[in-house]
Amino acid sequence: MRARGHGAARRWAAVGVLIAALLALPAVIGALPTSDAAVPATELRDRALASESLGFSGYAVSAGSLALPVTDQLSSVADLFSARTMMRVWWRGPADNRVDVVTPAGETGTHRGSGTTWTWEYETATATRTTANPLELPAPPDVLPNALGRRFLSEAADSELSRLGARRVAGRDTLGLRLTPAAAAASVSRVDVWIDTGTGLPLQVEVVQKGAARPALDTRYLDLDLAVPAREVTAFTPPPGASVREGREAEVVLEAGRRVRPVELPAELAGLPGRRLDGVPPGIGLYGSGVTLLAVAPVPPGLANGLRNALSQSPDAVVDEVGTRVSAGPVAVMIVEPPGRGPYVLTGTVTLDAIAAAAAQLPDLVGRP
C-alpha cells in the first residue's frame, strides 16, 4: 500500500509538469529564432518609406516616459508621451485611417479622411471635426510605429543610418535600423526602428535620449493583420445624441502666429537650418530635420502664463534672464518674454543648452530693449 504515497507524488508531479509547460510556453515562443537578412541600411530605409500606402490593421502600444510640463489645454498631448497608450489601428493609407486609443472603459477614436479628421471621445460623447492644418498637435496616429518611424527615416542622412540585427515584433520577423542624429543640438542619441522583413512596415520604434539607457518612447505593434480594412471601418458619422464641435486647438497657435508682427527669424538657430512649411504664418519658425527639430512660435499671454507656471513647477526648471526652460526627456521647452512683445515658446528635441543658445540668437526678442 506504499503505492498510495507514490500515487500522491505522481499526481502532484503531473500537475507540476503541466504548470511548468504553461509557464514555459511564452518564453519558448519568444525564443523562436528570427531570421536576419543582410539588407543594407539605406535599402531598408527605402523599403520602410515605400510602405506608406500599404493597408493593414493592428494593435499597437506606445509607452512614453516624458512628463511634458504643459497646461490643461494640451493634456491630451502630454498623456500621449507620458503614459501607456493602447491603440487599435485600421490603415488604408496616410489619408484614410483610423486609430482608436483604447482605455479599459472607453476610447478616443481618430478617423482621418482626406481633408477632415474626426475625433470621437466616448467619455464625453463628443465628435470633433478638424480640417487639415499645416500645423497640427501630436495625435495618437503620429506615435504609431509606422508613422513615427517613417517621419524619422524620411529626413535621415545616409551617414546617420546603421543596421541592427533581427527581432520578432507582433509575431513577425523584423530587421533593425538605427538612426544616430548627427546634429550637435540633438537631444536624442539614437532611434531604433524595426522594419517588417516582408512588407517594409516599421513595427517598432524606440527613441533613446542622450545619456539614457532605456527608451524615452517605445512604440510597437502587438498584433498585425495585413488585410486591407474595409472603408466603413475607417469612415465616421457622428452617432445620434453626440455633441459635434469643431476642433480649434491648432488654430490657437496659428492665430497667435498671424497676429504678431512678423519678425525676421534667423535662417539658422543653434546650428539647425530653418525650414519652410506651406500655410504656416511667418511668425512661426521651424528648424532642423528628422529627429532633431526646433519650433519657435508666439503664444497668447494667457497660454504663456499657464505654461510658465507649469514649467517653473518642474524641479528641473532653469529660470534665468534668458527665460524659463525645462527638458522632459528628449523634449526641451522654453518660454521667453522679450519686453514690449508677446511671449514666445521654443520647443523641440534639442538639448537644454541648444534651446538656450537658440533663444539667445533670436533677434528683436531677447537681449534688446
Binding site: 498510495r4 500515487g7 500522491a8 499526481r11 502532484w12 503531473a14 500537475v15 503541466l18 504548470i19 504553461l22 494593435y59 487599435r88 482608436d100 483604447v102 482605455t103 479599459p104 472603459a105 472607453g106 476610447e107 477614436g109 470621437w120 466616448y122 467619455e123 464625453t124 460623447a125 465628435a127 502587438l222 498584433d223 471601418v233 465616421f236 458619422t237 457622428p238 452617432p239 445620434p240 445624441g241 453626440a242
Partner: protein
C-alpha cells in the same frame, strides 16, 4: 451526481439569499439614478451606467459592471469555497465518499454546480437589470430598426446588436468567474473550513487586482486572473476587439485547468478525517 449537486445547491436557501443580495445593489443604483438623474460621466464609475439614462435596455450591462468587481467574485468564492470544505465541515463528505462517490467525480460535479451557480446568478442579475432598466428608464423595443445605442467607438448599434452583444457579455462575465471558482475549489480541498477557502480565493483576487495597478508588476500582468475581467467592454467597441476577450477566455481556461488538476492531485490522495 451532477444532478445531485445541483439539487443540493439550488435547494439551499443560502444560494438564493446570495443571489438576492447580488441584485439589491444594481436595483438600488437604478432607483438612485432615477431619483437624482445624476449619471456619472461615461468612462467614470461602472461602465455603461451613463448610457442607461438614454436606453434602459443597457441596464443589464451596467448591473453586471456594478457587481463584477466585488460582489460577484465574493458570491462565487463563497459558493465554490463551500463546495468541498463545507461538506467536510458538516461531516457529509465522509458519507458521500463511503457511499461511494468517486473523488474525481465529486470534484467535477462540484465544479459543474459552481458553474451553474455562476451562470444562473449572472443571468438573473442581467434579467433583473433588464426589467429594472426597461421599467424605470426609457427603452427602445427589441427588434426595432431604430438606433439602440452608441458603441464605445461612436457607431450606432441596433437594439438587436445590443441584445446579441449583451448575451456575449453575460457569457464572458460568467467565464471570467471560473478562475475565482477554481481557486476557491482548490483551496476548498486543502482545508476543512469553507470560510478559509473563500478567504483564500478572495486574497488571490485582491492581490491580483493590486498587482494589476502596479507598473512594476507589468511583466506578470498578463497572467493575473483579474487582468481581462473588464474586457467585456470590448464587445461594445466597433468592430469588436477580440484580442483581450480571447486572451481572457484562454487565461481562465488555463487557471481552471491547472487548479482543477491541483485540486484533483490533492483531493484524491488526501485522508478524509473530518
Amino acid at each position: 451526481m451532477i444532478v445531485v449537486e445541483l439539487r443540493k445547491m439550488f435547494r439551499r436557501p443560502r444560494t438564493w439569499a446570495t443571489i438576492a443580495v447580488l441584485n439589491a445593489l444594481p436595483i438600488l443604483v437604478a432607483v438612485l439614478l432615477l431619483l437624482t438623474d445624476l449619471a456619472p460621466r461615461p468612462g467614470e464609475g461602472p461602465p455603461f451606467l451613463s448610457a442607461v439614462l438614454s436606453n434602459g435596455a443597457l441596464y443589464p450591462l451596467a448591473a453586471l459592471a456594478i457587481v463584477l468587481p466585488l460582489f460577484l467574485p465574493i458570491a462565487v468564492a463563497v459558493v465554490a469555497g463551500d463546495s468541498i470544505a463545507g461538506e467536510a465541515q458538516a461531516g457529509t463528505l465522509r458519507y458521500l465518499l463511503a457511499r461511494p462517490v468517486g473523488r474525481t467525480r465529486l470534484l467535477v460535479a462540484k465544479l459543474v454546480a459552481v458553474l451553474a451557480f455562476v451562470l444562473v446568478t449572472v443571468l438573473i442579475v442581467a434579467l433583473v437589470g433588464y426589467v429594472v432598466g426597461t421599467t424605470l428608464f426609457h427603452a427602445q423595443p427589441l427588434g426595432s430598426t431604430a438606433v439602440g445605442g452608441t458603441s464605445v467607438s461612436g457607431t450606432a448599434l441596433t437594439p438587436q446588436d445590443i441584445a446579441d452583444r449583451t448575451m456575449m457579455a453575460i457569457g464572458y462575465v460568467a467565464v471570467s468567474m471560473l478562475g475565482v471558482a477554481a481557486f476557491a475549489l482548490f483551496f476548498s480541498t486543502l482545508t476543512d473550513s469553507p470560510l478559509g477557502a473563500t478567504m483564500g480565493a478572495l486574497a488571490v483576487l485582491v492581490a491580483s487586482s493590486l498587482l494589476f495597478t502596479l507598473d512594476a508588476a507589468s511583466p506578470i500582468a498578463p497572467y493575473l486572473p483579474t487582468r481581462y475581467w473588464l474586457a467585456f467592454v470590448d464587445l461594445f467597441r466597433d468592430p469588436i476587439q477580440w484580442r483581450d476577450l480571447t486572451r481572457g477566455l484562454a487565461l481562465q481556461g488555463v487557471y481552471v485547468g491547472v487548479l482543477l488538476a491541483a485540486a484533483w492531485a490533492n483531493f484524491t490522495t488526501k485522508d478524509v478525517t473530518s
